[in-house]
Symmetry: C2
Subunit: 448 residues, 2 copies
């Protein structure tokens, strides 16, 4: 059993509800929408990601004998019989990955018989929430440092293996140059990068010897970590070594700094390298970096060519979760509304329309009902799956990344920075507002 | 290929370094220790977790044909040949899961030929870091609410599938009652809990009808979600329904509140239930809870019997990562020390000794060299694996949980609360300090 594709990756209530849906013959069509309730503090927008993994999950959802046996100890035979045949047969509409979006806008809509649409809830949220979280975080670094090499270094402190892999994917989608995680490279065809660890230096009695051993093993791709003992002393050793290795046609490509005042060390190291004739040797920096520290280093004009961003990216340290929900908006042809305090939803099947200003920047969205509620602007939600089958071939991650970079160009400059821009206008159509009010009146009547 | 056990779950530099280690015949024994550099703000201690998953990873580490083929496109044949035969053959010492520990104390030590010990770095950190993060977070809720039912509700917003599963395991280990995640129940034998979603209520035209349908499907285990429209109105419907269902011997076990002022709603609902003769119906609360909100509800004496804690637990929202490191402390028989600014390590193979006061509370630890540096107190690191083989059978998670609850009893009361206690004393033995100073002097001499 591969836990990443198991249908038991669900909350227990999904199965208890499923039992009742079957017993009450509530198999009519349900429409669920996944959306964010609000932006994390300090953020101006979100970047949709994770759709590809969600579609794969839906496409391949079946119950193994082992899983059915486990369920049979807790659920009656008619439930097990239903699950034996289970295939997801619904429709999926979604924002294409890389789309910039805002609270209250559906990222994904599932239209399927109720037991199916409810069963997939938790894993669908789990996938879209996390990749969207990371893509949205990564976009911030990409936008402030568009000309720098940015590499995901975060797998070791990501929350488990899948988080490390999906963080590599989502950050690459959002414009990172690649990842250090080998398996992410193999699974998603992401460029992978690597240097050396302090342990490698420490394992040698002599730092210069360590540098030389590494360079001789990797004559065309050597980045040397120079901060194990003394960063500037390390840089001088690199200069001496480079001259020695020239004879054997071994080129040192770069050095990495991982501690201390990175801006100051980078300036010192740049001078030492340049004075030693190593103007082409790049400087790569890492060490608890995030987009705020990146901004500080950029503002200080630190001569750094690339950055390894690890933990802060992979756990989205300033906002490790988004306030998202997967809510029933229509059932058996009738729009539905949850009215819980502070958590009321907009009912019905919806579309998001986006307006652009004359200079090509996004300038306002309208959330409206999909049917009978036409709006100006470009509709953003697109169909991706019908009756359980994909409607289009799987796009390459590289193509999605290019698309995402294009979307960035439609951001007003105020939204590209780390400062909080004015709230982006997201209107709710008058028809949708009227429908919500009508449902509230009907509910009130029932409660009386 | 199961991505969760793939040896490619590594950083690229682990393979580039491995190549050089092989080419330079640096296969002598390396000793790496995993430790935390500091506590997250506001925390008094950490709880070790994840060892079982780390041991499983090491035990089963082999390269598949597919993985070797991928590597062969990037690494020379002698590296591939080495990896074809690869088995982890090292020793593992660790703090047993559930042990309370502090910064600078090794949580795990790996003693193995250098290429092996370096190769496993990232996944070992990834597993121990995350489960320790979650167990340490969960412990806070358990300690302030020891008599309440605490259930992990967080899978949907956990960072990927493995995070959801391991968060369920780590929080149960730390004293939670169980999880909502079905797969975690099957994989780790954790009790699972579930109620119903708002969608279930919304799918019915009538809330009472929804309650009745659910209760008839689950006559002996019904917890009804009563906040979809109006919490107190929901409670009155439960009273009416309970009387109706009594005839059929159907008992309503509990109600769940998920929004609004939980303390006030709980008091209102308790009164409505009690007035309706439903004194045995429990109240379960959920909705963006964390240990701080839990504390507020407990202080307010809200009549709530159990809590579903989701996102805040599974992402450790106030501290989504720990500052941890896996560092080389000895190689080829010689102690090693990293001196990078702000990141210097304590060299050598170490043991942690713990002292207890007369009342059985922990009162101070000493980090010392394992050999020739005897200290008072109980040694905490224990051997778990020798030459790649486990030294003891896999413990049940339930037994580990019992052990963890025992450890809590040794915490001074000041450390059990949510307030910051005085720093717990962790001494570095004079012999270890002297060794570090000696290595610094030697390094300085080499740099001159």
């Amino acid at each position: 059993m591969n836990p990443l594709s198991s249908p038991l990756l669900a909350d227990l209530y999904q199965f208890t509800m499923l039992q009742t849906y079957l017993e009450q013959d509530m198999q009519q069509t349900a429409v669920f929408e996944l959306f964010m309730r609000k932006l994390p503090p300090g953020r101006n927008f979100l970047v949709a990601a994770g759709l590809e993994q969600a579609l794969e999950f839906l496409e391949n959802l079946t119950f193994s004998t082992e899983e059915l046996e486990w369920l049979a100890s807790r659920f009656p035979p008619h439930v097990i019989h239903y699950l034996e045949q289970f295939r997801f047969q619904g429709d999926v509409h979604a924002l294409p990955e890389g789309t910039i979006f805002f609270p209250n806008e559906p990222v994904l809509r599932i239209t399927a018989p109720m037991p199916q649409a409810q069963l997939v809830e938790s894993r669908i949220i789990n996938l879209l929430h996390f990749e969207t979280l990371i893509a949205s975080k990564a976009a911030r670094s990409v936008l402030i440092a568009p000309d720098k090499q940015l590499v995901d270094f975060g797998m070791r402190r990501a929350h488990g293996a899948e988080a490390g892999l999906l963080a590599a994917r989502a950050s690459y989608l959002a414009g990172f140059s690649g990842t250090a995680t080998v398996l992410a490279g193999t699974l998603y065809d992401i460029p992978i990068f690597g240097t050396m660890a302090h342990a490698f230096i420490q394992a040698h009695d002599d730092e210069s010897q360590a540098f030389e051993h590494f360079a001789r093993s990797h004559p065309d791709n050597t980045t040397l970590l120079i901060d194990t003992y003394d960063t500037e002393a390390g840089a001088h050793k690199v200069v001496a070594l480079a001259n020695k290795l020239k004879i054997d046609n071994i080129i040192i490509k770069g050095v990495r700094l991982d501690s201390g005042d990175l801006a100051q060390h980078a300036r010192n190291v740049r001078r030492i390298l340049d004075d030693g004739g190593l103007c082409d040797v790049t400087i790569f920096a890492s060490g608890n970096l995030d987009e705020y520290k990146l901004q500080t280093l950029l503002t200080a004009r630190a001569p750094i060519d690339g950055f390894g961003i690890g933990t802060a990216l992979d756990v989205s340290n300033d906002a490790p979760a988004l306030d998202c929900a997967y809510k029933l908006q229509e059932f058996a042809g009738k729009p539905r509304r949850k009215r819980s305090e502070g958590k009321a939803t907009w009912p019905g099947r919806k579309q998001v329309y986006r307006m652009f200003s004359r200079d090509g920047c996004i300038c306002g969205d309208t959330v409206a009902l999909e049917d009978g509620d036409p709006q100006q602007g470009t509709p953003l939600l697109q169909p991706f799956m019908h009756a359980g089958k994909r409607l289009r071939p799987k796009p390459s991650l590289h193509a999605l990344r290019q698309q995402t970079l294009m979307h960035y160009q439609s951001l007003p400059t105020t939204m590209m920075t780390m400062d909080c821009a004015d709230n982006y206008p997201v209107a709710i159509s008058t028809t949708l507002q009227a429908l919500a009010a009508q449902l509230d009146r009907e509910q009130l009547k029932r409660d009386q």
